[in-house]
Symmetry: C2
Subunit: 164 residues, 2 copies
């Protein structure tokens, strides 16, 4: 491999149930393999009753947070996807990955919570809080979108033909 | 059908090649059927040589524009997806659809161009220019994202459980 290489891990809470979204995500993960190690780690979603209270939600998110943070590969930059995060263009996102690499990071972990979001502990541990859109997307589709943006970012950084 | 009903047409340039993205889009179109007629109209992409010039691109987009605008069902509001469009939340998008309905529109047509975008004539004919994200997504994935947002918007307007 030549050019800019960077390892990518997507850490996601819960499983993708729909085959078609799983296939879409796998396709971008496979393509990311051209630029470094790329994989998805799924963290078990904490079970909650219907209409859970705020305290129950917070406790569940904290349990998930422990699993998430222990799954981050050593030396990785951490990006938490959340609606209050920073919006950026694909070019800016690509430069951000290059910045992380220049800072000596071994790769990037992108964290996608469940439909209940992410705990404060994950958000504050993140090097970047990112919002892909002010619109709300299902977390399964967000995983496909994140995988595509990571592939696009790596392609931009390597002057690939994918992004125009 | 009770509650807020609205017809939805997605007018997209080019075909979705990937089965998994086609399946994802179909799923949301099927679900939109609960709120009115929902369908996708694919417009043929004009053929261009590799590395086309600006004039060649503009001519191709104008040809596509004729097909797009003639496909819009009578009385529909028109939304053009473009990077310079307005960003909004899912709740704002839902209210926008309700506003169109209150203005007497029969439904909404959401237009998604090819990777070369949309012609000025389409953008200026639109009642709303919408950007789902400052990031660039492939137009096939944008079609899935738009279908999901339309379903989410209709669910919000009908106090459905899908959006939380």
């Amino acid at each position: 491999m030549s050019g800019f290489n960077f390892n990518v891990t997507i850490i996601a809470v819960g499983k993708i149930k729909e085959d078609y979204l799983r296939s879409a995500c796998s396709e971008y993960i496979k393509r990311l393999g051209a630029y470094g190690k790329a994989n998805v780690i799924e963290i078990s979603e904490s079970r909650l009753p219907d209409n859970p209270g705020a305290a129950q939600c917070a406790a569940a998110l904290e349990t998930e947070a422990k699993g998430i943070l222990s799954a981050v590969p050593k030396g990785n930059a951490v990006i938490a996807l959340c609606i209050e995060g920073k919006c950026m263009t694909s070019e800016e996102f690509s430069r951000k990955l290059a910045d992380f690499s220049a800072q000596g990071k071994s790769g990037v972990s992108v964290i996608i919570g469940s439909s209940f979001g992410l705990s404060k502990s994950v958000k504050s541990a993140a090097d970047l809080r990112l919002s892909m859109s002010p619109m709300t997307f299902p977390h399964q589709l967000a995983r496909v979108m994140a995988a595509e943006q990571l592939y696009r970012a790596m392609s931009i950084a390597n002057n690939g033909k994918y992004h125009k």
